[in-house]
């Protein structure tokens, strides 16, 4: 590390990265009528969005299963989009295709006795294999009991099946039902709330639901404003790399605050 390295070099690169705002400028700006990150993003993505997203791991059957399942775990309702609308199936596909799905950073050597709950993940299956087996077995169960695959059941029947997996009442052949269900639930929540760069949380639906601003601004001026809601348009990583959102000298987002109607809280 030479004299000019470290943070100083970093400051330069942060400034080069986004539309940098000079030092000392406010980290939050008033709502500007023409600034809407998502409209801008929509324009930006129009060409790309015209194409369906390519699934890399999941089969069409598995996509249908997951679309149906995640729409129960986080449903679309009066509060806004659910997991399906937010692209969670696609998120799961991408995760299973990548390092997570193959346990790239996890210990995978046998032997594989079942272990105690306190000993955690002891399955010989990778997450990718857990989904493959879990979806297949659940569909088999649905065919046996209802004559149809999971995605073709009524909403009420689907809900029953998911509860059966969650509570361990439904036995699956190749994988413990609760193990499969817990993984699906955890990944659904991840996909709903992770940065949209991973393919879920589309239009920042998850962040808007809870009021999470995403990439942070400098909160120094705000942290001692007690009991004051912080209503900002959430900012994603791509908003910054694509220069849709502005950043300060250290690369923090300059949040655009919502007016009260937009915030809808």
């Amino acid at each position: 590390m030479k004299e000019t390295s470290g943070r100083r070099r970093f400051l330069k690169s942060a400034a080069a990265l986004g539309a940098a705002i000079p030092a000392g400028a406010a980290a939050q700006s008033k709502p500007a009528p023409n600034v809407d990150h998502d409209k801008q993003r929509a324009q930006h993505m129009r060409a790309a969005a015209a194409q369906p997203r390519p699934y890399m791991f999941l089969s069409q059957t598995e996509v249908a299963f997951l679309d149906a399942a995640v729409s129960h775990l986080i449903p679309k309702d009066e509060l806004g989009p659910g997991a399906k609308e937010a692209g969670v199936t696609y998120f799961i596909d991408q995760q299973l295709f990548g390092g997570y799905g193959s346990m790239a950073k996890k210990y995978t050597q046998g032997p594989w006795p079942e272990g105690t709950p306190q000993q955690g993940y002891q399955s010989p299956l990778t997450p990718a294999a857990v989904y493959r087996a879990g979806i297949r077995d659940t569909n088999e169960y649905c065919k046996k009991t209802h004559g149809k695959t999971f995605d073709a059941l009524s909403r009420a029947q689907q809900e029953e099946v998911l509860k059966g997996l969650d509570g361990g009442k439904i036995e699956l052949e190749q994988v413990r039902s609760q193990f499969f269900f817990n993984m699906l639930l955890a990944n659904t929540v991840e996909g709903f709330f992770a940065d949209p760069v991973y393919g879920g949380n589309r239009d920042k639906a998850g962040w808007k639901l809870v009021g999470f601003p995403g990439v942070a601004a400098v909160y120094t001026p705000f942290i001692e404003k007690h009991n004051v809601p912080y209503r900002a348009q959430p900012v994603s990583i791509a908003d910054i790399t694509q220069k849709i959102a502005q950043v300060d000298e250290h690369g923090h987002a300059i949040h655009v605050m919502l007016d009260d109607d937009q915030a809808g809280v």
Partner: protein
Amino acid sequence: MATKLKGVDVVTVGVGLTATILAQELAATGLKVVGLERGRWRDTDPDFAMPGAHDELKYVRRHELMQDLSKETITFRNNANELALPMRDLGSFRPGEGVGGAAVHWGAVTWRFFPWDFQTKTKTLERYGPKQVAEDCTMQDWGVTYEELEPHFDRFEYLYGVSGKAGNLKGKIVEGGNRFEGPRSREFPNPPLKTPHSSALFARAAQSLSYKTFPVPSAANSRAYKNEYGQTINACVYCGYCQFFACEMGAKASPQTTVLPVLMQNKNFELRTMCNVVKVNLDSEKKRAVSVTYVDSRGREFEQPAELILLTSYVLNNCRLMLLSGIGKPYDPVANTGVVGRNYAYQTPSNVNLFFDDKVLNGFMGAGGNATGIDDFNGDNFDHTGLGFIGGGNINCGSGATRPIEVRPVPPGTPRWGSEWKKAVAKYFTRSCSIAIQGACQSYRGNYLDLDPTYRDAYGLPLLRMTFDRRENEHKMSVYITNKAAEIGKAMGASKMNVNPRTGKYTIVPYQSTHNTGGTVMGADPNTSVVNKYLQSWDVHNVFAISAGAFPQNGGYNPTGTVGALTFQALEAIKTKYLKRPGALV
């Protein structure tokens, strides 16, 4: 066959928090120091730069900065009657890998253990008699006192720019600080961080119950600060991506912001990354270490001779390397002989989640240690007579950990999924906070570390095996203190609460804290300790094992302030005594 390299003066195994300090100070005296780090080089730029630094999935769930378990993990069981199985995924604790170690993604809360902690055994027996202590409890004194460590605490805090408020200056109690702390020779280098809403509510409520509140000390620097090596640590901006993340501001002190820029310029220091140390080699009499063996990223094996070998590879690998290398006698819990691996302990964290219908908390703003705490129920600050346990824990409430994938508590009775769950998450994400308890954990005869008979690492070597469970002492303590926290929560005006004391079997699954302790404990008696008070091996005098592995049991605080003090104390002994006359210091 290993290629034998040219000898050097000092080798550090691992290049994290302790190693960087030791290497910096020893290289400055003119010694040739080589740092061997199993992970890669990491720096504020580009590794910690925005906007990628604010990626919860990558850092919290995919463990970007943490140990790669595909190469090495530990095995775990609750007790010796069970079969230990590998920790396949990170959960309960999340050690670091790469330059800077866990101190890149740590939470920055920086305490000094109480004077009482260093004499737990003597003081407990004095005040309560032997009946207060469980029969299988192996707690012991540290062989060092708070007074001896005070200057070293001070030096570490000034190196890392800790923000806080003194409560005891040279024996004089100072309002607003922690009146229970040991006397400090001077004020903190930086003032406390700003006060978030949750902390303000907590302070008022705790004061109404007559507790003494104070700002939790944090190495998230509250203002731009220059340390003794001329390194500027920036001011924290309360972005809320702190623990599990690297700090894009260089405001949370880490090896990268405090020491490495100067260390890397010192020609006496050579860093070798992607080099995994597999063994310390001893001479034929097993009295002296002659070299370490390591494997690089191309699979080449090297032998690096050195005069002084510093084990700075975190608690777990310090212990494992001693066991793999035959340094010190391994602990045998059945015969109750030997020492290496003995007194493994941990932490007993618990919490209370608070939900407000009429308040906004904005818990996504803040930093590690951006909190207000009380120590009225920590250490031996309260009378334990009749309580059936010893020890306690810091209780605190702060802000900066609320991020939607990991931290989005919902009130009791909320279903795990579906519309009701969604509503609760939406409502309470910005309207909840937690009171956290950093509970202590005593050491017991049946809790220990040794080598696993079955599972191996990527180099074919046995994994470290952890046998651990908390005991009745810890459960009782956790219930008692968590209920005290719940009383404060009620006084804060929470409309709903989840009270989560730590009871039942220890599980390796949910994150609790990376505060593993013991295994290479320090002490005054070689029959019950692995290293002396300077963290020098009793058996092999040119090996020092520097980490929280030296703690004979764990206190009610995060460990690193105390690890920093022990590091500086060892350093002083090495510089002023050992280098002049290499040999046993005690």
